[in-house]
Amino acid sequence: MLNGLSNAQKNGMVPIKEGSFVPLYGATSQKPVFVKSFYMDVYPVTNAEFLHFIQKNSTYRKSKIKGIFADKSYLYYWKNDFDFEPANPNAPVTGVSWFAAKKYCECVGKRLPTMDEWEYVAMADEKKRDARTRKEFNEYILSWYEKSRTYENQIGKTFKNYWGVYDMHGLVWEWTSDFNSIFLSGESRKDKSSDKNLFCGGASVNATDLMDYAAFMRYAFRGSLKAQYSTRNLGFRCAGNTFPKP
């Protein structure tokens, strides 16, 4: 089944070793989160790969998908069900709802990464598992937020991180399985109030590192999403508990 997929995904996953870290929104207790060993896709899913999926799963075509699973902007840059031209086949697929991303991963024997898993991998730079305190690293991430239309770029052109994973920063945003488990009310200044802390997992002033603005943006972005949403800057990659059978 995987033979039809591009090189990118053929030997697509790398092992991520277990460990713990204090995420930005480390809940009220600021306790470290433990992440079990898992596998992560090296690259985000591309247009070509998603087309392959759509060919086999007709209910996820843009003409067929049900409104509760995707809003009107689902794959809006695709001309029709099977034509994403002039987008590059090796550019990340975007404009995909959470439901579609989840289904895709299931169909290739994987799952979406959790937010903690995603952040755990994303805090690594080329050399270190946790580069979040490195000034240049944060500047790199922040500078991406200011570059427009990076979704047109091909996968694998940013840096390869400590785990061997590409494009965690600098290409597109990515869905996680529990993107809405941390609650930002939309009024980010208010999220520090104590009542919210009890069930929403912390807030801006509680952040372990105030200077980690880069991460703020990710949490703010996730907070603005609903599962049927899709946006041009939002793609996804898959994870798994085991290495997928070829």
Partner: protein, 481 residues
């Protein structure tokens, strides 16, 4: 004595009763105009304008339902010549579109986040009474739209801004603007109205460093901006973009300050504000020179222009004006009125008679017989003169300030004519000049320097920064004095 007091008390009692009756009467009347109870009549789409323009006044219209469409765009723009910046905008401009309402209006706000944008945004309008000023209801992902509505209750000029994490960064990138709530019947009519908003910007490179400049979080936290500007960029209100008026007209400025950090000492050089709505509210102060505008605040100022000329809008925290960009211009055309401003009537020499100062003329004659100096000496002395006299405008490396003060480094204007350069220092220079392909229209005053000093400073300038190494002598200067 006693009876007098009695009478006084009686009289004041009657007066009290009378005024109480009056007060009650007016109370009843104002009850019917309680802003929350105003019933809207009809519906229309709100007119939005980009700075420096404002929508037309509300005049006598009734409170209405206003449909308002605001699109958020993240886009690259120009900070100053050769310097690009990625602005985040409400309506495609910095500051964002001007919103004009009246008390009692019901605004149906459609906030749209362009699909190509990277970030979620929201809006907090200081004119809104409700949680987060609308921010709680308006967080919108790229490619989506949020609708919320509010009734404007308090007249005044209010700031709106984005309040999404990280709030400071969203504001620093330009996400602010003004919403005006006019009282019933509108503000008094004037001849010209303009929209000016100050903001501070923090870039990776220093002021003037070329190319696309990224936002610098560290500088923002330290509150050390590279740019402090009106309407989002250097030169938004100069070099052909000046505000204009005619002699005799009354000009009203809606002035806001987006911050994120600095407080503005707003001043118009050569004008006095006739009226200032302090902090954009109802209290009016008269005859004001400089009004303080807090970050996240505003003021409405108006003044009648009585004389022609160019009036300079500045943040009177003055290094921001001349070194960081907070400078705009109002050009007033019309007939001169010598009674109000005479211009220079006479130029004369001032020779005070005090013993200590009397030395000056002696020095001057001594200086006319300047010692012979080597070029190296001239450069050394000239550098010191440059550092005290020229550097403030033309900058340490002769690079000038784009759009305001022309460069001396590799300057075609300078290198093509050394006589003109000498005359410029001797007599000053006013009006448009073209330097290295860029137009400058400013004033350089005549400098009070001796022939020797001018020869030295010009020799230093010509020998520095890639200029043509002309050696200027005191005799050359004397011949042109």
């Amino acid at each position: 004595m006693k009876s007098k007091t009695d009478i006084w008390m009686k009289r004041s009692f009657i007066l009290c009763a009378f005024s109480a009756a009056l007060f009650l009467g007016s109370c009843k009347k104002s009850e019917t105009t309680n802003a929350a109870d105003i019933v809207t009549q009809g519906e229309m789409t709100a007119e939005l304008t980009s700075p420096p323009h404002v929508p037309k006044p509300i005049g006598n219209r009734n409170a209405m339902k206003l449909k308002l469409n605001m699109e958020i765009k993240e886009q690259e723009g120009t900070m100053t010549d050769g310097v690009k910046y990625t602005y985040w905008t409400f309506g495609g401009s910095v500051p964002g579109s001007f919103i004009r309402t009246r008390v009692g209006d019901e605004v149906e706000f459609h906030l749209k986040n362009h699909p190509d944008n990277k970030l979620p945004h929201n809006i907090d309008l200081h004119a809104v009474t409700g949680p987060g000023g609308g921010a709680t209801s308006s967080l919108v992902a790229p490619g989506h739209e949020k609708v919320f509505s509010f009734k404007v209750l308090n007249p005044g000029l209010y700031v709106y801004h984005c309040a999404t994490a990280p709030v400071g960064m969203h504001i620093a990138n330009g996400m602010y603007g003004l919403i005006l709530v006019e009282p019933e019947g509108g503000l008094p009519p004037v001849d010209k109205e303009y929209y000016v908003m100050q903001g501070d910007f923090y870039t990776q490179g220093e002021y003037g460093a070329k190319g696309l400049q990224a936002f610098d979080m560290n500088k923002a936290v330290k509150e050390t901006p590279d740019y402090v500007v009106f309407n989002g960029k250097v030169g938004s209100l100069t070099n052909g973009n000046e505000l204009t008026a005619k002699v005799g007209e009354t000009v009203r400025l809606f002035v806001g300050n987006g911050g994120p950090n600095l407080v503005s000492s707003f001043h118009v050089i050569g004008e006095i504000f006739d009226n200032v709505h302090i902090e954009g509210g109802t209290t009016i102060n008269k005859n004001v020179q400089t009004t303080l505008i807090p970050a996240g605040g505003a003021a409405i100022v108006d003044f009648k222009v009585e004389t022609p000329g160019t009036f300079i809008l500045v943040d009177h925290s003055i290094f921001r004006a001349f070194n960081k960009g907070a400078l705009g211009m109002l050009k007033v055309e019309g007939k001169e009125n010598k009674n109000i401003y005479s211009g220079t009537i006479q130029e004369g020499i001032y020779l005070p008679e005090g013993g200590t100062i009397q030395k000056m003329p002696e020095n001057k004659t001594a200086k006319t017989e300047a010692p012979k100096r080597t070029v190296a000496d001239k450069i050394k002395i000239g550098k010191e003169i440059f550092g005290t006299t020229c550097f403030a405008c033309h900058q340490s490396e002769g690079q000038g300030i784009p759009g305001t003060f022309p460069p001396l480094a590799k300057s075609d204007y300078l290198n093509s004519d050394s006589k003109r350069a000498i005359k410029t220092i001797l007599h000053g220079l006013t009006g448009e000049v073209n330097v290295n392909g860029k137009k400058y229209n400013n004033v350089m005053p005549a400098q009070n320097l001796s022939d020797d000093e001018i020869a030295n400073v010009l020799t230093y300038i010509y020998s520095s920064w890639g200029n043509n190494k002309t050696e200027v002598t005191p005799e050359m200067v004397k011949a042109l004095r």
